[in-house]
């Protein structure tokens, strides 16, 4: 640490009170987040708002000697909230998030190529009475489109500060005027009072005052009510503000709100009046200030590209090509890196065994720590490549076109086009797919998609399928060798996963995730070149989230599984083994044959130790539960051990069937042992029905600690990962049971 450490405690305590807070508000696709990343660099923290799935992005902005706290609010077209996720913006602005003080100023980012719609939320912020600085972003793009804007006149008419910024600001100096304006806004603390609907505002203030007096006379400790919250409740009928107020103050307040609404409604609803009059005001403000080329305009680049990309036929073909490229890249680029990580882990294991004396510590390091860390890191290449593609597709504007093309095909299972790319990504790995569901604006759709993702056949299921298919499905060919039975079974397992996922979405969207009328209001933003720095910032953040959150849990679970499989060690077995080894060494000549005999003995010892280990005992204890599925204790133990990571089943089966733990799915010995495994009475364990049942179990089960942790992180509650785990495990059990009983 730096020598300044003793004083940092005091300093941070001081800044806690003096550091000014600036909230960043704006429409989606305005370059708001890019601007935020440029202002704060890597000095940012990402967390979730309490109880909702939106991310809270807080960064530090340094202006000269001073430091400000910058909060990037989720992109929004209006402060009206109709879902808990949309509340985040208004909650921050009203200072209702526990650890964030009410903002001292608001930076509103507006897109110069689309001022009219962008000013909608800007004027809503002006009503709050907080100092506002407007960043007129993408000015370079507007100029390229020959849109001219009289910035001084705009600032004068809005009675606020307007600073021009450009989309691809590469140099920090170009942000200096914006930084200076923000510092000045905080220091001067002058808010421009602005009112759109006089009568609504007055009614809201009166009602808020009444509620607040009642609250104090009742002596109850309830939060005070902001007039703006009441105003939102009046305008956004059935929205989050109304729900929140009714929840805190009771149904009576709901009736009073409706009574006020009836008084204020003349001909059109308050929401209608608010939107109509706001746009009328904005039109008046912009009159003579914004000049766009009139008459026959040249088609913009976006229009020209969209003639092809969004074309029903050509666009669909292109979409298939893009997705194929992404998957090719994920599998072919990631494979060498994954092999590298795999061999590094193998090398580390060998190194541990050769340097440390045999015993618990060496085994913990090699089979617990190295294997545990390896099982996390091995997915990093796939996750990073897939994520880089998702971010680039999103930032370039293509993701919206993909959602547009795929919407209809997703609709019948209750989802929208937004879910398509995340669902497709889960065929590589559910972890980046679940992180990628952030592109889905509707919370219910997003959670349904998260629940579907773990069903898709990810790359970790493949080795398990490969082993089971090779061992139990005969090499049969049909149609003159064109169709192979093993391939057919693999296809069936893929389809089973898809069917399970689709059925889950269908059921969830009709039960616990049923929402109001399904909507698909989506802006198709202009195509833009992704900003490399912004892409990298997010990529690093995702990688960190995966390694830290998933890594720690998987590491912990791996060590637990290792201890279960290692302890207790039987001294009698070890002594017996040493005795037999001596016998072999004295009776046989040194050479390959003796080595082999010793290896067989070693594997038998490992199997015997495993049988009396905690894991083996657990397998035996739980075996009755799996008995109806036709599983013996060995298989039960292997299944238990593979809940943190499904591919572990191969190594555990290798140990329990005494062929060693360093086997892979191609291993002939393991295949034969598994095929010939028998019950004590000599019956075969793996009949075809039981084998198929086992495959069905692995297809439907959530055996991946990383996915469980990422579901927790993305939904911000243990409810959904718990639901997913219990639901999928039950489904897997029932599937395997059906196979065993019917077969």
């Amino acid at each position: 640490m730096t020598p300044a450490e003793p004083s940092t405690l005091i300093a941070s305590d001081k800044t806690l009170h003096t550091q000014a807070v600036i909230a960043v508000v704006g429409n989606p696709n305005t370059g708001k987040s890019t601007l935020f990343n440029l202002l704060t660099g890597m000095r940012q923290k990402v967390a979730n708002y309490p109880g909702v799935t939106v991310e809270k992005r807080v960064g530090e902005l340094n202006i000269g000697e001073r430091s400000f706290q910058l909060i990037d609010l989720p992109g929004t077209y209006s402060l009206a909230a109709h879902s808990p996720d949309e509340r985040a913006a208004i909650d921050v602005l009203l200072g209702r998030i526990g650890d964030i003080p009410p903002p001292d100023a608001v930076l509103v980012v507006i897109d110069a190529t689309n001022i009219k719609r962008n000013l909608f939320v800007a004027t809503e912020v002006l009503e709050l009475g907080i100092p506002v600085v407007i960043a007129l972003n993408m000015l370079d793009i507007a100029q390229a489109q020959h849109i001219s804007i009289d910035i001084d006149a705009l600032a004068a008419r809005l009675n606020t500060v307007v600073i021009p910024t450009i989309a691809a600001a590469k140099r920090q100096e170009s942000l200096e005027p914006l930084k200076a304006a923000l510092a000045k806004a905080v220091d001067e603390n002058i808010a421009t009072p602005w009112v759109l609907l006089d009568d609504v505002k007055r009614a809201a203030e009166e009602l808020a005052a009444t509620i607040n007096t009642e609250r104090t006379t009742q002596g109850a400790i309830i939060e005070s009510v902001a007039a703006y919250e009441v105003q939102r409740a009046l305008v956004d009928k059935g929205g989050e503000s109304e729900k929140h107020l009714v929840e805190v103050f009771g149904d009576d307040l709901g009736r009073r709100l409706q009574a006020q609404r009836d008084l204020l409604t003349v001909g059109q609803t308050l929401a209608e009046r608010d939107a109509n009059e706001r746009y009328a005001y904005i039109t008046k403000i912009l009159d003579g200030i914004v000049r766009a080329p009139k008459g026959k305009q040249q088609l913009s680049l976006t229009e020209r590209v969209d003639h092809i990309v969004s074309h029903p036929i050509i666009g669909s073909v292109l979409f298939v090509l893009v997705m194929t490229t992404v998957f090719q890249a994920v599998f072919s680029w990631a494979t060498p890196l994954m092999d590298l990580i795999d061999s590094a882990a193998g090398w580390a294991t060998e190194w541990v065994h050769s340097t440390l004396p045999e015993g618990a510590i060496a085994s913990l390091l090699a089979d617990g720590v190295v294997a545990g860390v390896g099982s996390v890191v091995i997915f990093l290449p796939q996750i990073l490549i897939l994520f880089a593609f998702i971010i680039i597709l999103e930032d370039s504007g293509y993701m919206a076109r993909a959602a547009f093309l795929m919407d209809r095909s997703m609709r019948w299972c209750g989802l929208s086009g937004h879910s398509f790319v995340p669902m497709l990504s889960s065929f590589a790995c559910a972890v980046p797919a679940i992180m990628g569901t952030r592109v889905i604006p509707d919370t219910r759709d997003r959670i349904a998609t998260i629940m579907v993702a773990p069903f898709m056949t990810c790359s970790a299921r493949l080795p398990v399928y490969a082993l089971l298919i090779a061992a139990f499905v005969p090499q049969k060919h049909f149609f003159y060798g064109l169709i192979n039975l093993q391939g057919l079974v693999l296809l069936g397992l893929y389809l089973l996963g898809i069917a399970g996922g689709v059925l889950t979405a269908f059921l969830l969207k009709r039960t616990i995730l049923r929402g109001s009328a399904p909507t698909f209001l989506m802006e198709l933003p202009p195509y833009r070149t992704p900003h490399i720095k912004s892409v990298l910032v997010r990529l690093v953040e995702r990688a960190k989230a995966f390694l830290v959150r998933a890594g720690t849990v998987i590491f912990f679970v791996s060590v637990v599984i290792w201890s279960l499989a290692y302890f207790p060690r039987s001294e009698i077995l070890a002594a017996d083994f040493a005795h037999q080894k001596l016998a072999v060494e004295s009776s046989m000549k040194a050479g390959a044959e003796r080595e082999h005999a010793i290896a067989v003995l070693e594997n038998e010892l490992a199997a015997a130790q495993m049988e009396q280990s905690l894991l083996g005992r657990m397998g035996k204890t739980i075996a009755p539960v799996f008995k109806p599925l036709g599983w013996d204790w060995r298989l039960s133990a292997a299944v238990i051990a593979s809940f943190p990571a499904r591919e572990v089943v191969i190594a555990v089966l290798g140990t329990t069937y005494a062929v060693g733990s360093d086997v892979d799915e191609e291993d002939e010995g393991l295949r034969d042992r598994v095929r010939n495994a028998a019950w004590p009475d000599g019956r075969q364990v793996f009949t075809p029905a039981i084998a198929v049942g086992l495959m069905v179990f692995y297809a439907l089960c959530l055996q991946c600690a990383a996915t469980v942790v990422i579901i927790y992180r993305e939904t911000n509650s243990w409810r959904w990962p718990a639901f997913a785990w219990i639901y999928m495990t039950s489904l897997g059990y029932l599937g395997a049971l059906a196979c065993a009983q019917l077969g």
Binding site: T113, E272, F404
Partner: protein, 105 residues
């Protein structure tokens, strides 16, 4: 011949230059009835209390705004429109909530 011209020849453009007929829309027309090359003016909602109505108005579907049809996805749904100078996609059912009339003049 440019790619654009080629595209036009094979019918892959928005048809903005299609022949302009007057008054193509009936009195009860909605956004879902919009035809290529015939922008229309928003006059209101079938039901102003519709759950999506407020969001649609905030996105620019307010009285007097001129809306142009750009294209539709495979199967004719969803539909992409040009509103207030940007592109917005709506499902057909949502578009049918918005009443339109012929452009003035």
């Amino acid at each position: 011949m440019s790619i654009l011209q080629l595209a036009q020849r094979f019918g892959f453009t928005s048809g903005a230059k299609a022949a302009r007929k007057t008054c193509p829309y009936a009195d009860d027309a909605t956004l879902a009835d919009l035809q290529l090359g015939h922008p229309a003016q928003v006059i209101g909602f079938q039901n102003a209390e519709h759950p999506s109505a407020q969001r649609l108005m905030q996105l620019g579907m307010v009285k007097g705004e001129i809306i142009e049809l750009l294209r539709s996805a495979p199967g004719g749904d969803p539909i992409e429109y040009r509103v207030m100078g940007y592109n917005l996609s709506l499902r057909r059912a949502e578009a049918a909530e918005i009443l339109v009339a012929n452009q003035p003049g």
